[in-house]
């Protein structure tokens, strides 16, 4: 099911949370809303769900304007940042909740509900936890239960608010790969909010970069990274260096740099301030005369220039772009 967001604006008092947002999301797409905190991404997600009412604009699901439709009737799945599981219900009852709330005519029998719940719990690989309570689960497990609960009512649209934000680094990586696979399998239109560019790049088909209530750029992960539409997008999508050259400023990413112990052509001298092995790459922090801002260079770990390199040594570098 496609989502069209047309001219959406929202104010909270004097604060302009969203300013005339327009966005089309195709059926089956997995889209990331990416931006710093306060950029309006969560508000936009909540407006799509119907949890918040916009001041202006319309939300259209598959050609049908749902702006005036209550959250209950929009049939979207929503996964909250802190999951919002019902703590007095078992995992089973949490997942069954949406089915049990249906009106008598639409409500499946308890037997059908039980089958459906176990099917979902199997899908998130947590069927063995059916009788536990949320407080007995780990963060990653809660996350998957929240997802199963949202999917129980068979929504056509799945919205996730910082779905991995509250998890520790390792679980987060596992879960986001799992989510991307799941999205492939069950053919939903999914939108998730994140402030983590790595997460957006790894999971999303398309990334919507937002700042201060407006959309900065929409594009595939490759596009927003390689062809940033603004300085903001450039900085937000990865580490970056700023170098003063003849009064103008050039920007480049830490890996877009060539280093050498010799003064090669086009290379300029710098002083090594720090050498830090990061695994497959090693980060060298450099100090350049004429600017306070340090330059970071990331090179493969067995780069020739690194042998015997110490703090205080001289090193030559050149940005490999522009």
């Amino acid at each position: 099911m496609s989502i069209e967001i047309r001219n959406i604006s929202k104010r909270f008092g004097a604060f302009q949370a969203l300013n005339t947002i327009n966005l089309d999301i195709q059926s089956g797409e997995l889209v990331a809303l990416l931006g710093p905190s306060g950029c309006g991404k969560t508000t936009l997600l909540r407006i799509i769900a119907g949890l918040e009412t916009p001041d202006n604009g319309n939300i259209v699901f598959h050609g049908e304007d749902v702006s005036d439709r209550d959250v209950r009737d929009r049939n979207v799945g929503f996964v909250f940042q802190h999951y919002a599981l019902f703590r007095h219900m078992t995992v089973f009852d949490n997942v069954a909740f949406g089915l049990r709330m249906k009106s008598k005519r639409e409500r499946p029998s308890e037997k059908v509900i039980a089958e459906k719940v176990h099917e979902l719990l199997n899908m998130v690989q947590l069927d063995w936890l059916a009788d536990r309570y949320p407080e007995q689960l780990s963060g990653g497990q809660r996350q998957r239960i929240a997802l199963a609960r949202a999917l129980a009512v068979e929504p056509k649209i799945l919205l996730l608010d910082e779905p991995f934000g509250a998890l520790d680094a390792k679980v987060r990586k596992e879960l986001r790969r799992w989510l991307a696979r799941l999205h492939e399998e069950i053919n939903l239109t999914s939108v998730f909010v994140t402030h983590d560019q790595e997460e957006a790049m790894e999971v999303a088909d398309r990334i919507v970069v937002m700042n201060k209530g407006v959309i900065q750029q929409i594009g595939s992960p490759g596009e927003v990274y390689e062809q940033p539409a603004s300085d903001f997008v450039y900085h937000f999508l990865g580490d970056s260096n700023r170098l003063q050259v003849n009064g103008s400023e050039i920007m480049f990413r830490p890996h877009e740099v060539s280093i050498s112990r010799e003064a090669l052509t086009g290379h300029q001298p710098a002083e090594v301030r720090d050498v830090r092995p990061l695994g497959a790459t090693t980060r060298v922090t450099l100090r350049v005369t004429g600017q306070d801002e340090l330059i970071e260079a990331e090179v493969i770990k067995d780069h020739d220039s690194l042998i015997g390199l110490h703090k205080g040594d001289a090193l030559y570098f050149r940005p490999t772009i522009g």
Binding site: L51, F80, F86, H88, M101, R149, A150
Partner: protein
């Protein structure tokens, strides 16, 4: 937050010792003395006193009106807690502050004020009299007085719990299609139920033992509107210390059993 015993914080022996001594001298030994006094009675004598028709009538009245007022306050209390937590409206702060008036107001003052209002010649009593409704000097009046003095219990136990429920919980329920009444019934109610029961139990226990606010409005007719604490008073005035003690012990034991029951119920709700 560290809650384990910390070796560097002094004063454990001193404060625990002082607490236990003070508690024993002031509360435990005197209460014990009552049980010692009651132990002078044989079981048959004891049973005879507490099953006397006048005592049984008072027992029924005290526990009955306390129960009724606790039930009424459960409804009023949740209403007030809900409105105070969820809505902003003019006067909200004043109402919120005034909820505790029954706790701060001496019970005797509450007693004469309610009597003045609900007596047949009183401000409200005179309005109800033509309708054939009598409040003062009937069990209804006693219930009313108890509703007043125990009003804050349910409000003050439910209010913080209600305020602490994250809004995402209700939003999650709404996203899953639950209607407002369903959200209340299946999501909010279970969350506030333990606190609700606590408030109910506190109100009930206080209601059973309440004296000052009730005696003015009750009329104090034996067999009709005489509450248990008043009966203890009556026995004391007649120098029937044994009778007073037997009733006192019975009140404590019955209240204790009821509170224990509510406590167990509460545990079953919290950890099914």
């Amino acid at each position: 937050m560290s809650r384990r015993t910390s070796p560097v914080i002094p004063g454990f022996g001193l404060t625990l010792g002082y607490t236990i001594v003070y508690l024993s001298l002031l509360v435990l030994i005197p209460l014990g003395a009552m049980f010692v006094h009651a132990a002078q009675l044989t079981w048959d004598q004891f049973w005879g006193i507490i099953t006397a028709p006048r005592v049984l009538a008072a027992l029924r009245l005290s526990f009955g009106t306390a129960f009724a007022s606790a039930v009424i306050n459960s409804v009023i209390g949740v209403l007030l807690a809900w409105v105070l937590v969820r809505y902003t409206f003019p006067g909200r702060k004043i109402i919120d502050a005034m909820i505790d008036l029954p706790f701060a107001l001496p019970t005797a003052v509450a007693g004469i004020a309610l009597t003045a209002l609900y007596a047949p010649a009183g401000l409200i009593g005179s309005l109800l009299q033509p309708l054939g409704i009598k409040i003062a000097f009937t069990p209804l009046g006693i219930t009313l007085a108890l509703v007043f003095v125990t009003l804050p219990f349910v409000v003050r136990t439910v209010q913080p719990v209600l305020a602490d429920i994250p809004k995402e919980i209700e939003e999650a329920a709404a996203c899953l299609g639950a209607k407002p009444l369903q959200v209340f019934r299946y999501v909010l109610l279970p969350a506030i139920l333990p606190a609700w029961l606590t408030g109910f139990a506190l109100a009930f226990a206080r209601g059973v033992g309440e004296y000052g606010s009730v005696i003015f409005i009750a009329g104090n007719m034996p067999m009709k509107t005489e509450i248990l604490p008043l009966l203890i008073m009556v026995k004391l005035d007649q120098y029937d210390y044994t009778g007073a003690t037997a009733i006192g012990v019975m009140m404590l034991v019955v209240s204790f059993i009821l509170l224990l029951g509510i406590n167990l119920l509460q545990r079953r709700i919290e950890h099914p």
